[in-house]
Symmetry: C2
């Protein structure tokens, strides 16, 4: 991805400096990041947190960004152009990495539907542990 302006306009967004910057940062730094982290990485056109949250929410509604919430109040955000996957999270430093599992879980969704009468739409899998630096 390179022409962020085009990408934004194709989704019906005005291509503002701030939105381009957020999109560029998420694209360049392809891993789940907190709002605070993104904000910190955006020193160039120093952006207000309210604006960031509004942008992230808009991106999420358009399916450009995936919001990941798993623990402790704060959410992570990552570019949404990758295959379905899961995460490992360091319980000490909160570092988070993507992992890919075999497709068994998708199938299990169907079993769950039978067992529980829920209409299953999505699922998350998180592994918690210590990252190489923290262990």
């Amino acid at each position: 991805m390179k022409d962020y302006k085009k990408a934004l306009q194709s989704k019906g967004f005005k291509a503002t400096q701030g939105r381009e910057a957020v999109l560029a940062l998420l694209d360049r730094n392809r891993k789940p990041q907190t709002a605070a982290g993104i904000l910190a990485g955006m020193r160039k056109p120093k952006m207000d947190q309210a604006t960031l949250y509004r942008i992230l929410e808009a991106f999420e509604r358009k399916g450009m960004v995936k919001k990941i919430e798993f623990k402790k109040g704060y959410a992570f955000y990552e570019i949404a152009d990758q295959a379905h996957h899961h995460h490992v999270i360091c319980t000490s430093c909160n570092r988070m990495e993507d992992i890919h599992l075999p497709h068994e879980l998708e199938d299990q969704g169907r079993q769950i539907e039978k067992q529980t009468k829920f209409k299953v739409q999505d699922h998350t899998v998180e592994f918690f542990g210590l990252c190489p630096d923290c262990k």
Copy 2:
């Protein structure tokens, strides 16, 4: 479980009225509940939220209660005397139920360790969808 006083003392707790009440409620109502929900269910010795949170945290440290955080904002708590399991959560009304999956995931933890160099300690699996009432 019936003698909550004994149960508390065996874990080194003073058997206060409040702690007995929380333990009894969690034991009687065996499903994940929010702090607000527990508080609401405890009209008898009306308890302050600060106290509830302190009690829940203490119970969690002693392994009597499991704290479940999966999305935005609030946590769920459940008695910790059951086998490892996972959850289905209704995306509409937030109702949450326990489910049991085959053991494959435990094994996958080991693969993840090789792939990522993390020391895996735990994992969570959540299915999201619509419950019978909401769909």
